[in-house]
Symmetry: C2
């Protein structure tokens, strides 16, 4: 079996062989399914967080990740920012006829590695094959369930208040710049790699240590830091002041963004998130983050302010400015 | 807003407007989301069933259903056949640039209606837009979580034993024949309509009444009755004897299948399932099913037998035969 054929998606013997001989073995110890219609699972409690995300990235494979790693990390991070512990993922595959099976195995193996690092299991899957030209190679949907401890304060925008410190866990823009550079041959693809990472352990370490003084978390994916801040300000009905000069960013990302004429604060990230916490612990949060995998670039970058126009105001030695919501894309879709 | 544009998938203001002004309103009271990254939800217990399915049907709209209704019913039914009560669904949309927004609204409205009938909620969603030609109009993934009561015996193939009666809840082949006829203009599309239906209430009514005497359920989707029986026999390590003449089927389905040269037992269904139960209650199960919505055609069609070659043997006045697993498709992909 070298290429995916339409018959792999028909529910017959070939469908079953693709799952049993290719997909399930690639998932290895991360695969919990019993090949029945649903997986029956136990949870440690009765409060769950649930989310879904689809991944359509081009190219499928890049430095720092691939569509499989993205599909695990994206959903794990969406669950983790609600304060829940990610446990179970489902995987929905839409494959284009003619896809090399080796590409499928590579993406699934990468999903398994990311799932192992994050401590989550793949519990159910579905595979559809569409005619050549009716999809672009591989689309992956992951949905996830996480568990909220009964006494845990969930992380939610509703707990953000004026005076909260805004902490970022890692530098911004690298994922977008790497993929753009790879697609367009801009020359930055070897100097800037994707930041794709599962952030659940980092978030739970901070949550465990700082408890209720950690109020909310928000991952910075499509639309980047700028979109996250403007959406948050709108949701909480408060303003946010940002010190742009303290936002961590690789110098090559600044150069590439300059060259492309785009603003790095709107670039997509796959391994960075914002944390909102009591101001009296913000320095300790940053210190702790810097000890953690994926937190080495952490910095305090702003404060929530009691300003009812819900504006996001950025100060910088290069000039102050309002950060506005992006209407559409400033760049081709990346993730 | 008349057509879906790439900018609707970039995570900016237009993405948010599509969700807030088009998708969420179409879901109406079935929508539980708080627009954060994950939905935080309560369950009545700690045992869950979890599943996923992607839907790529062509055409999007047909008699008896559409891609939206299919996406809800398919996942609801996969959860229900495990004996769980479906509660929460996530929706992952992949939209092709240029899709009429009216088609999106129609499919989402249909999802909401099916969710209302099934008693489930849409709790999280994700929307991606890909370039024209990189997907076929709309792909929908639904993942679902259902609850298993602590004292409930889950329905599972492991509880099937030799002597069990095999009951089918509805007639077979209508979904496939309707879609094929619609696509190819065969003339049957007005006489045979899709059987797409949520079966969770039907299954739970039987489960409630017959308790542990109901052992397993299996919905008959891709690959149809033939694939379900051969896979089940293989899984449980026993044979199955089927009385083909007792399998309910519309005469127009037989005529259309004859014309197409295909075997109706492999045709896809979206509103029919198999139940495995103690033989002493099989007649009562059929009687009860016939009182229920979607159970009017129910019939006892076979028995599980202690035959270690795991064969499925079909008897009929037209001749006896072995039912073999289909290798690939006998027809173009339908669901």
């Amino acid at each position: 079996m070298s290429y995916v054929e339409l018959d792999h998606g028909t529910g017959g013997l070939l469908s079953r062989q693709l799952v049993e001989n290719v997909i399930a073995p690639a998932f290895g110890d991360r695969y919990l399914g019993a090949m029945e219609d649903s997986a029956v699972l136990s949870l440690p409690g009765t409060q769950i967080a649930m989310t879904t995300d689809s991944f359509v990235v081009d190219p499928l494979f890049f430095e720092g990740g691939d569509i499989g790693k993205l599909a695990v990390c994206g959903t794990v991070n969406d669950i983790a920012v609600s304060g829940a512990k990610p446990l179970y993922l489902t995987v929905g595959l839409i494959l284009e006829e003619g896809l090399p099976v080796a590409d499928l195995v590579r993406a699934m193996t990468s999903m398994a590695e990311a799932a192992r690092e994050a401590g989550v299991y793949i519990v159910a899957g579905d595979t559809k094959v569409v005619h050549r030209g009716a999809a672009d190679k591989i689309f992956i949907n992951t949905a996830g369930v996480g568990w909220l401890a009964p006494d845990a304060l969930s992380l939610t925008n509703r707990r953000i208040r004026a005076g909260d410190s805004v902490v970022i866990t890692s530098s911004i823009g690298a994922h977008s710049i790497h993929l753009l550079s790879l697609r367009e041959g801009l020359g930055y693809e070897n100097r800037v790699t994707s930041d794709c990472a599962p952030l659940n352990h980092l978030i739970s370490d901070i949550h465990d240590q700082f408890g209720e003084r950690l109020h909310a978390a928000r991952d910075l994916t499509r639309g980047g830091l700028g979109t996250a801040l403007t959406e948050l300000a709108d949701d909480i009905g408060l303003g946010i002041d940002v010190d742009l000069d303290s936002v961590p960013i690789q110098s090559e990302v600044i150069m590439a963004a300059d060259m492309l004429g785009v603003d790095p604060i709107y670039l997509a990230n796959e391994g960075s998130c914002l944390l909102f916490c009591d101001p009296d612990v913000s320095k300790a949060v940053v210190t702790k983050l810097r000890e953690l995998t994926y937190g080495g670039q952490a910095a305090e970058i702003g404060v929530v302010v009691d300003r009812r126009d819900k504006s996001v105001f950025a100060r910088s030695v290069n000039g102050d400015r309002l950060i506005e919501p992006l209407v559409g894309a400033q760049l081709p879709r990346l993730c």
